[in-house]
């Protein structure tokens, strides 16, 4: 059984092909293709929905062709076409969904609309082999501490305002760091050279976190601190990372203590940050736990994760009828009925 996955909820356009060999139990999973094309706005700017959608429209057909060639697949080999139903930016989502619908009609295939967050979780579980972890999902648009219970991925804690990746990206704009390969990546590299910790607001409300205050504080004070030479740009990146990651690790630890789990899985774009992984590892080893993380191929938005979550749902008999293949910008992780897990 082969699934084609199309993802384009934000500035990454991804196409993936995955095979589940159903003759074995559990099915043997093979990744046939996983390619991505990213829209990079100029330094100092974020990606706007209109431009991002335009980027996706102009590249998606070539990406699908490349993926099919890489996986050595013809349309008749594909069992199901999976696409991101949400959450994400409206324009980019619908551009990709249109292609998914067209291909399904042309090739006479079933469609499965996938929740983006569930895609991240399922891909992380597949790659790392984590059984029942507490999931920290951190990206440019999402910050959630998730645990599975009774057929749902339940949100234990989340960001009350902006996502952690958004906080990092926006600070990268203040410093005029390039958006290529990713603003957060450039912050991470610069932070390695920093050592002086700036005292920043630290906001944890129960299981929830808030990043808007930290961002406002550092945005407001950065120009003066840099001009006076008191702190370098590297020090500020270092301080920001140390503070916001400590908040994330703290809430994750609390979720682990609450549900009595020893496993943590980090997914989402910010999840490939080595410092975050290292801090999580230190936390986990203090409580005899284990951290599972993936690299940028699977952490950062990709098509394969949509194919993976979609094919799991498809195997339980789930399909999205054509008239229900609309997209939604708001689609919470806990709205999805997880039929494929015990």
């Amino acid at each position: 059984m082969i699934a084609l996955g199309l993802e384009g909820s934000a500035n990454k356009l991804g196409v993936g092909l995955i095979r589940h060999d159903m003759t074995t139990t559990p099915p043997t999973v093979t990744i046939l293709a996983n390619i991505r094309h990213t829209y990079h706005p100029p330094p100092g700017e974020g990606f706007l929905p209109k431009d991002t959608a335009q980027h996706h429209r102009s590249h998606i057909l070539q990406l699908v062709k490349d993926a099919m060639a890489e996986g050595n697949i013809t349309p008749k080999d594909i069992s199901v076409i999976c696409f991101t139903k949400g959450p994400g930016m409206g324009g980019p989502l619908t551009s990709v969904a249109t292609v998914a619908r067209t291909l399904a009609l042309m090739w006479n295939k079933e469609l499965v609309g996938v929740n983006h967050c569930v895609g991240h979780i399922e891909m992380g579980r597949q790659i790392t082999g984590a059984e029942n972890p507490v999931v920290l999902y951190v990206s440019g648009g999402n910050t959630q501490v998730i645990a599975y219970a009774e057929k749902r991925y339940r949100i234990f804690g989340e960001a009350l305002d902006i996502a952690v990746g958004n906080c990092l990206d926006r600070f990268a704009r203040v410093l005029n760091l390039p958006n290529d390969p990713a603003p957060g990546y450039n912050i991470e590299q610069l932070a390695k050279k920093g050592s002086k910790l700036l005292d920043l607001p630290y906001t944890v409300k129960g299981m929830d976190v808030s990043f808007s205050g930290v961002l406002t504080y550092i945005e407001t004070n950065a120009p003066a601190l840099l001009a006076s030479g008191e702190y370098t740009a590297a020090d500020l990146c270092f301080s920001l990372q140390e503070t916001v990651f400590a908040m994330l690790v703290e809430t994750t630890e609390r979720a682990m203590a609450h549900i009595g789990s020893r496993e943590v899985l980090i997914v989402g774009g910010v999840g490939c940050n080595k410092r975050l992984q290292e801090m999580m590892d230190q936390m986990a080893s203090q409580r005899d736990g284990k951290v599972f993380a993936t690299d940028e191929r699977f952490c950062i938005d990709n098509g394969i994760m949509i194919a993976q979550a979609g094919i799991l749902a498809y195997q339980t008999g789930y399909t999205t009828p054509l008239e229900k293949t609309w997209c939604t910008q708001r689609f919470r992780t806990d709205e999805v009925f997880v039929a494929w897990r015990e």
Binding site: S9, F156, A163, M207, V249, R254, G268
Partner: protein, 218 residues
């Protein structure tokens, strides 16, 4: 390190010991350093939380809200010595046959609501309200005691108090399914005992909408 101490619980933030102290049993709460946190940040957070916890506990005590009595604070080693309370947590109680009855749940809910109302009256925000952090004292036949003020702070803001209630609501719905009625009763009792409780309950409705209404990208 602590004489005759017996570890009874390890949470995310601290280790809790039971140990003899001046001819009685005391609870000793020791906050440990977090290896993952930058030492400066860790020291700042840990010492702030020890002091805040002790202050909030004694503030409640002075207002005659049932909380563990603080015996001693050791800010060097991040230790708080406090009263040992014999009893079970509301979380444990709600799964006992007695705790399943409507009458018992109503009584506990009223107790909780009243205690929270009084606590917010003196501007103490608990910060981590769960059913595990509400004890029922044996010697008084099960009156509610508020414990674990590890994330507590003093604030007059309606926002902070509403978030406090929201944290409890979420803890209730995730740990005790089908207890919506009980939470309603808590809010009712809370509404009757607090000074600004009407505004706080109104704010709670805003807070509830936040997570769900948020647009999510990425």
């Amino acid at each position: 390190m602590i004489y005759n101490a017996q570890l009874i619980k390890q949470g995310a933030e601290a280790k809790v010991y039971l140990a003899p102290f001046c001819q009685r049993q005391a609870i000793i709460k020791e906050r440990f350093t977090k290896a993952y946190r930058h030492p400066t940040l860790d020291k700042k957070l840990t010492s702030r939380r020890v002091v805040q916890e002790a202050r909030c506990l004694s503030r409640c005590q002075r207002a005659r809200i049932d909380t563990p009595t603080v015996y001693m604070v050791d800010t060097e080693n991040y230790l708080i010595y406090m009263e040992y309370i014999e009893g079970c947590s509301v979380r444990e109680y709600l799964v006992t046959p007695e705790g399943q009855t409507e009458a018992a749940q109503t009584k506990v809910a009223q107790d909780i609501g009243r205690a929270l109302g009084l606590m917010h009256n003196i501007d103490v925000v608990h910060g981590d309200l769960t059913t595990s952090n509400l004890l029922m004292r044996n010697e008084t036949g099960g009156s509610v005691v508020l414990i674990d003020f590890g994330l507590s702070y003093v604030s007059q803001l309606i926002e902070d108090k509403a978030v406090d209630l929201y944290v409890l609501e979420r803890a209730f719905s995730s740990t005790h399914p089908n207890t919506e009625v009980m939470f309603e009763q808590i809010l009712k009792a809370y509404g009757e005992s607090g000074k600004a409780s009407k505004q706080i309950l109104k704010k709670l409705e805003d807070v509830r909408m936040r997570g769900r209404k948020r647009s999510m990208l990425g």
